[in-house]
Symmetry: D3
Subunit: 311 residues, 6 copies
């Protein structure tokens, strides 16, 4: 059983119960979210282990995060409670103004999660992991959080990074500068990204060209293509797995589902192609519900999907 450790901010998500501009939405549904927490649960669902290094506030939403993740099997022993700041939250506006897309409205500035710092990174704990993962979001939320990622990556034997650029958290310029800086410093085993992020980081939105440029920094590159599926680049090879047509409830977290599932199956010894085919299923199921973690499938569920959908 492989072990993943992720670093990031866990957020409480308030998902609009009805579509359209939030001013006209009267009811919201609460979920636990945050990219690195999503990765963690997806990783666990394939039969591996995951722990998360993160901070939450000393409030109901913070305890909500801990209890939910512990319930999902996440090792929460390195989640800390910071009583000086509230747990970060966000709202999701769905299918408006763009059908099939969602928009996040954050209340996370100065949150407990952004107080994550190098002191929270326990060296022995990080060393115990087969893989250490973080994302562009963690780089963006605070300089101490960024430093925590640097410290963890320094210690880690294997590193995974999802570019996950959120332009509400930093500018395209900052994102480009900071991500390239990280990539230059640490060679990655896995880079998960998409064409929008590639355009920002490399000025290149063609998947093949972007992947070629990224290959200096990472061994395996997963290029997400939204509803169209994803491509994985490795050993000079390329494999494309297409997406499925399903009703879209909320696309938030679909990329994390794909990434976390792919990493976990890789460590389960799956062929890279098969791991991607399976990961696409996790991502597909994810967009059919509100909530980022509730529809993350087990390996067995993915196999049932594949058998019945006869892709």
């Amino acid at each position: 059983m492989a072990k993943l450790i992720t670093l990031g901010e866990i957020l409480i998500e308030f998902n609009a119960l009805s579509l359209g501009p939030l001013r006209h939405v009267n009811y919201f549904e609460k979920h636990v979210a945050g990219s690195e927490a999503n990765y963690c649960v997806a990783f666990i669902k394939q039969g591996n282990e995951c722990g998360i290094i993160a901070k939450v506030g000393d409030d109901e939403f913070g305890y909500n995060a801990i209890e939910w993740l512990r319930g999902q099997g996440v090792d929460v022993s390195h989640m800390k409670i910071d009583s000086s700041a509230p747990t970060g939250i966000f709202f999701i506006q769905r299918h408006y103004p763009v059908p099939f897309k969602s928009e996040s409205i954050y209340y996370r500035k100065g949150s407990a999660g952004s107080k994550l710092s190098p002191e929270d990174v326990d060296e022995e704990y990080v060393k115990s992991a087969d893989l250490v993962h973080s994302s562009g979001i963690t780089l963006a939320i605070s300089s101490t959080a960024k430093e925590a990622v640097y410290k963890a990556f320094e210690i880690a034997s294997n590193r995974s990074f999802d570019t996950n650029i959120r332009l509400k958290l930093w500018s395209a310029e900052e994102a480009k500068r900071e991500i390239l800086k990280l990539l230059s410093k640490f060679h990655l085993k896995f880079l998960i990204t998409d064409t929008d992020d590639s355009k920002i980081i490399l000025g290149e939105s063609d998947p093949d060209k972007a992947a070629k440029a990224f290959s200096d920094y990472a061994e395996i590159i997963v290029m997400k293509l939204g509803p169209k599926g994803a491509i994985v680049y490795y050993d000079g090879k390329k494999y494309y797995s297409s997406g499925y047509q399903v009703p879209v409830e909320d696309v938030t977290g679909a990329g994390d589902a794909l990434g976390g599932t792919f990493l976990s199956l890789y460590y389960k010894g799956f062929e890279i192609e098969k791991a991607l085919d399976y990961a696409i299923v996790a991502s597909t199921l994810n967009v059919m519900i509100r909530g980022d973690q509730e529809n993350l499938p087990t390996t067995k569920d993915i196999e049932t999907f594949l058998r019945e959908m006869k892709k």
Copy 2:
């Protein structure tokens, strides 16, 4: 006005309000269901009569079943209350792990419905019917229920049977053996089945070949093809009616909607082809909602659908 009598178990259905694995579903919606009850209501909606021979528990769910079906126009004079066992129930998990499919989780073992036995079959009552219908489910739930079907089929002038194999109730081997035994004993006027069931019973999933094999046992064979529509075989002829693309809420009961509507329109004197075209509409509307009976259309509603959808 033709009269149908069905034998089977009426169940209370708890349908998941949200998609995904039931562990994460917090709210459930109650409906009255059960294949033979669904057939009955579909039959009535086309302007004919239907009575059901069934048992429910002496509990709120049992009275729920009686009141609802009486409200829908079903003759409930031969529904009995068995105070020794509870009314059977089931839960529906929707679109997970396979999009567009539903899964049933039964709490029906030892239920009042399974106590159905030959004593519950009133000879005079059965003789009053133009057609007597049951399904593989009734054969599977208990040996007394199976005997009740045998008794009713013995008396009936015309018989209809829906294979409806549920592998949570019996094994494929049992299903095959028992259904073939029934078919060998009683010639059917109508056999309603699908390619999955044909594969189990005959080892043949090609619709035409399966229908040919079934034609020894039944006069008219309706082969359901899921979202693709259905084929009817009769008099050495074959007619295919295709399905419609609509949003799928829950597919449970779609086959019963098709079967019950087809039988009823046949007795209304419709051409077989037209009866199937109409029955497909009933089945289409059925998958658009939770609940098996609420969207069963009248003949007039089907005609409005056909006129507006300009198939």
Copy 3:
């Protein structure tokens, strides 16, 4: 900033929370609706002004209409309260018996809205408008309401009319006679219609032929084609803008969204073709929710849609 004044009945809408025949719908969601109110809000959303001449009852639903529309920025100074009759209401049955269509069940006979009469039409107020708009519905609800439209159109410098034939309010013959009478009397700047209405009024459902016939009465003709989009005819030219494939919650009000948005962008100085492309977006977003006004987009929202959907 251009000013539109509309005349019509504001209704309270009770939209079925679940699909299917209303007898089985247990919950209803309240919204403010009414074709001319919808036009008004769509007009405002593009940065122009709108006032409505209408009557509501001295009841909770009447005050609901006033408060909601005032909130949306509508000039409600010419809405009057008529304590002799209730505010009109209607129920919406969705996707049954025809998928992707909705049916309205009115409780508006003798409503306060139908008491609208020429005395409610303030000459100075009407003169202050760049455009005066009404619809076939207002002609149909009462003879005094019809006279109010005549009075307003007499005063107006520019007139807009949406044929909006509702066969639950009058017969096809009456609709034809009254609409042709109005068209013969007042030359319109804008006529908004569809092929069903054209068939009733002109006996012609071919869009081009119908538009040609209508061109005697109106300068610019918008021919709505439902999910397929719309065509605009002007200056002897024709421009077709196609629709988008999105999940349909309720189509009620889609035509008003298209019409109101088109008119407003025209007055904003948009090219007619661009105005129609944008109006199609308003109509598309409208069908994705229950409620007629909550998803009406601003110009900026439409542009985000167009950029992201890369039509």
Copy 4:
């Protein structure tokens, strides 16, 4: 088993899901209601029979009424469908502006129910009843409905009448005149009323004095006192049964629950005092839910209540 026949209007009720003025209520819950229908179901719940003479529209709400009441065991063979008018409906505003009270907003003017007329009263059918019941509401909704009551009362061997004055349907003067006229013409076996109605009809709100005055017209008088309970007057005697303190969801229909249960238990041979004690329980349970008929208890349920609440 005694048989009751009632004459009146069946309404579809839209009950506010949240408290407060309806303009701010967004969701409504549908129920079948109408005083005489409520009486009927309460009567049946104690093990007797009831039929209703009424008209509904040829619409979803009309069929809703028929199916629901048939499900509840009501003899609906004398309910007629009138396709010239809609089924009457009403909305309920709860706990505002007066806590623990509800307000009804009717849309029933010209409804199918108000088309009830003497032709709908089948002489043989009425003769088959042990008791014929109607209310002030039926007198108020139309002159033909009033005449239907007269015709039925003429035929009936025993008559019951609930004064049920609704000042939204007629003035206090009309109510007084018409009710006194009816009372003068037909001697009643049962008169059900309350102190507000007594004040209007007799100018007397003291229960004892009012009952004394009413005793010229009726054998048994039930005087409802709201949450305080009720008094029954008969044979020169008087019995007071006090109410119970329970959470109030909606008081609509509480009086009907009391009346219908009392009548039925009287015919079951209960002592009048005991019948009233039991009827108070029915009324108590009724105010704990939205909906007028769903909480009507069986005799056995009442006994469980009495045993556990140890009044």
Copy 5:
């Protein structure tokens, strides 16, 4: 018609749909709130005018606030949009850990509302008011907001102040110091407070003693006593009005309902005692629902309440 101007922060409220600790609450209901906005709407409901000086973010929640308040009749001409910060929000936890009480969890630090500053206070606008009102909350949210209050109070002919101490926004010491400083500088026409706040400000929780001490600073003092009612002190006199026993949904905003209603009726020329009796009703209705403004009654509604509740 008197005019009130209030200064404060408008918040979007997310009220827990179910009781208990928020970690276990899955659904939240959105409302517009904020003490000074509540005062404003309560003031308007009695037939006077109110405008609010406030800032909201350039986001859906900001527009929500503007549209809702405009709909309620508030003069929003001096509400400004600040695109540098989000609209403040808060969550409400109900009946836990203390039954009949609510707890607010704020996400308002650095909000647009806290950017309110003296530049936002238009001198001419403030002069047009008969009364200017603010609260301890506005003093607490930022120093610029506090300065805005000082500027407005400087200009105002008459001042009203609600102490409204929120210990999540400042310490008891700060609250005491800042409120006393304000009181020392500006003589108030109205001071609204309660015994908890009196304890903090004066070290005195006995209502009479506290009122005596406050009488140096204010002409009329309203001392709120929670469910027990309130006392008004003026001209050396004292009047106590008791509360009503009603089911408590959420007490948030009850004090604002009382204060705003009292002020408005004072300006309507009501005797002070009667104004308080009426204000208690507004406060009583307010606790029966979620949301701070939806149940604010008109004068007529209050009179219906008083007539029916026969206090």
Copy 6:
């Protein structure tokens, strides 16, 4: 930190969203329940540890139970999955036919939970506990489960037992016989019971007399009195703590809340009287919501309650 181990069946609860007979309840809310699981979470909330020995099915409801309890901090290492039977479930009917009471409808016969047997009881694990707890329910569900209790009690240094008689699971005679047998065999440190159970077991419903009789079997006796509070008997002393008047949503689980909280505070070193005062608060909060565990308070929450409610 003390450690409790409980043995029992974990159930999935489907709580009626609306009051009244279940036949008319359309929506149900899912929770994790079961008396011993409730005890466990209540025990943990006061800062101690708890593990549960139990079996669930290999189904969504079984995983639901594990994930929820793990999230709540329960040691689930000795929960086993039994794939031969389903997880037990039950429905709750609220406030009908008796206001303020709830009724459970079980579907637990032959459930995975009832397969609990001595082999599931790990000797070392049980020895690690400071206290071992079970209830009459576990004795009733199966003979193997009863034997598991015997085995655990044999090993345990300290024993706690809640009589918890459910007459739907066994007869009064069986309950009496089996409970007395257990009491005769094992001396208890804690016996939690109520007057109804005392009546069945001892034929004595007077609390003092029953406690005296029970004192042969147990050191500390907690006698629950429903809404009136509870009495604790120990060392020949008696202490009564009264209940609080709060709105009752569902009383299910209130006794477990009281028992589990009391036991935990005892081990925290609280005086017995204070432990009971606190436990009453846990029980009070419990009845205010649906669900048995969501409102279980921490010690700190109880103290806030006591401070604010000034009992």
